[in-house]
């Protein structure tokens, strides 16, 4: 799929001769060497829409992110509140909470992930089709939060899953979730379809399934996925 997309992107790129130049004609930026943002805006005002396949593809994807209907703890209530009339996540195209992971694009880890729940969360992530994104909502999903010292609490879902957006708060307000969603949309819009910076779902060598931890006698086995997460080195060694 990636090759075909790349070819399409190449063929639909407009030729320099076709691009009408405005009177000011600013020098094109290195990101879009063919036409500048100001020129494109001017054209839009005239009713001519110029775009690349990459841009319209990402634009479409970023405004139809379907989250998985998956609530873990307190943050799930705020997630539901965000989808209700007052905050109205539908303004961002994400109101379609899908009960099945097979139909979802976004996993909002909304709450404390316990060790008993962690294998199920990883399995849900594995069942979601690419392209998929993960938002760690709330302090617990980020690091364990207030329950970090609990024996059954996973100290952050990023030990097992690649997290795209972290939303702090305990619980984050619905506005914070909306902001996180907007950040995710921005991230999706910036993704390249070709080249070495292509996202995970366009790279054949990247795994889309992550190893599911198993229950050990005292802890999860393994306690973290070393391919995703390494313990951070201490910035200052605590005096011993």
């Amino acid at each position: 799929m990636s090759d075909a997309t790349a070819q399409l992107a190449e063929t639909t790129r407009p030729e320099p001769a076709d691009t009408p130049r405005g009177a000011s004609s600013p020098t094109p930026s290195p990101e879009s060497p063919l036409i500048s943002e100001a020129e494109r805006d001017e054209l839009r005002r005239q009713g001519i829409l110029l775009t690349s396949l990459e841009e319209i593809y990402n634009w479409g994807r970023s405004h139809s992110v379907w989250p998985l209907q998956f609530g873990l703890a307190c943050c799930a209530i705020e997630m539901i509140a965000a989808s209700m009339a007052r905050f109205d996540i539908a303004r961002f195209g994400s109101e379609v909470f899908r009960p099945s992971p097979r139909q979802a694009d976004l996993l909002i880890v909304s709450g404390t992930v316990t060790k008993k729940m962690a294998p199920q969360v990883v399995r849900l992530w594995n069942q979601m089709p690419e392209p998929k994104y993960c938002i760690a909502m709330g302090a617990c999903a980020i690091s364990g939060g207030p329950f970090k010292q609990g024996y059954n609490v996973l100290k952050g879902i990023d030990r097992f899953l690649p997290v795209d957006i972290y939303i702090p708060g305990c619980p984050p307000r619905p506005e914070a979730l909306l902001h996180g969603l907007m950040q995710l949309q921005q991230k999706i819009r910036g993704q390249k379809l070709t080249g070495p910076d292509a996202p995970r779902h366009l790279r054949a060598d990247d795994p889309c399934a992550y190893p599911v931890p198993e229950f050990g006698e005292r802890d999860l086995v393994p306690p973290q996925n070393p391919a995703v997460w390494q313990p951070p080195p201490p910035p200052v060694r605590p005096a011993s």
Binding site: C74, A81, A85, T114, K116, M117, Q120, Q149, N152, C170
Partner: protein, 406 residues
Amino acid sequence: MNLESGISPAADRSAPALPAALPPFNPAANAQVREVHDPFHGDLLEVSMGPHHPSTHGVFRMMVTLDGEAIVKLKPVFGYLHRNHEKLGENTTYLASMPYTDRLDYLNSMTNNWAYALAVEKLAGQPVPERAEYLRVILAELTRLLNHTCLAGFLLQDTGASGTPLMYAFREREKILDLFESISGSRMMCNFQRFGGCRVDATPDWLAATQRFVDGYNEFLDEYEALITGNEILMARTQGVGVLGPELAVNAGITGPMLRACGVNYDLRKVDGYGVYPRFDFRVPLGDHGDTYDRYMIRVLEMRESLGILQQALRDLPAGPIMDPKAKIRGLKPKPGEAYGRIEGPKGEIGFYLISDGSANPYRYRVRPPSFVNLTVLEDMCLGQTVADAVIILGSVDIVLGEVDR
């Protein structure tokens, strides 16, 4: 289901799942009716509902065994949100446990706070000033409104009325959350009560806003009931479904609206008379049938009574301090001993059991979670019903997983 056993959901529905008198507890009675693999009658189907299931209200899991569509065995599986609340409570000071209690039943942080504060006050012999008691009543009744409104919305969501009733419920919830936010600074995790009083005082503006809200709430309830209560589909789905008898309910320790739906008159606001509740005039609604519809109606009626309590409390709210001047909050070290404090939370009896050994941390910190104990009879209510009914029955039990698993 094969032809021999026949498909007769109507016959299943009319028969209550339980005998009227409580049988002696016998696990064999709850065992599956026949072998899972039965070549003659067809196999039973074992379904794991959860922990990721759209209508289990969190990470709750039920191992359900089905004969056709009828449930013949149901075993709940807990622990997917076991956050070690009690262990953390034993490793922190008394005050530091207060924010954790917010996260127990995360819809009702105010009543959790109150139950914990009450237990510590009993342990330390701490009096509470009158204004603080009134504020606690006001906030607890607002919490009850919030919980019951959300429950009604979610119950309708479970019956398949996707979206609209929940939107109505959450519209009202946001109004209550605005009140909570303006008095405590946080929407959900209020962390408001302290040992010997409350953290901040209510301003006249806040009281006026609360009065306006309370005055308008009956109108919302009328609107909501006009939409829902007489609804034919709701009555067909809930009446006679999940019947629970009073003997079993008492024996199984069921509390809260679920108990009163069976007709047992036990409301801790009346029985214990904690706080200033004896000063208010209110009635305890009781159900007749103990089915899902009664459990829904009890909550609607309780909301009406809560509004009455709120009107009286707002009218009688005295002036004065909100904290006992001698109260010790930070570095509280109660003398050795133990205390069990309980209040009538929106979901049932929420209690805290504390043992002090004289140090700054409780030696034992135990939460008596109402929704965890209420799940004891889930299997009894679901036997003989269909899978779709099990979802509604679970919804009417009103669980919050933060409290079930702690």
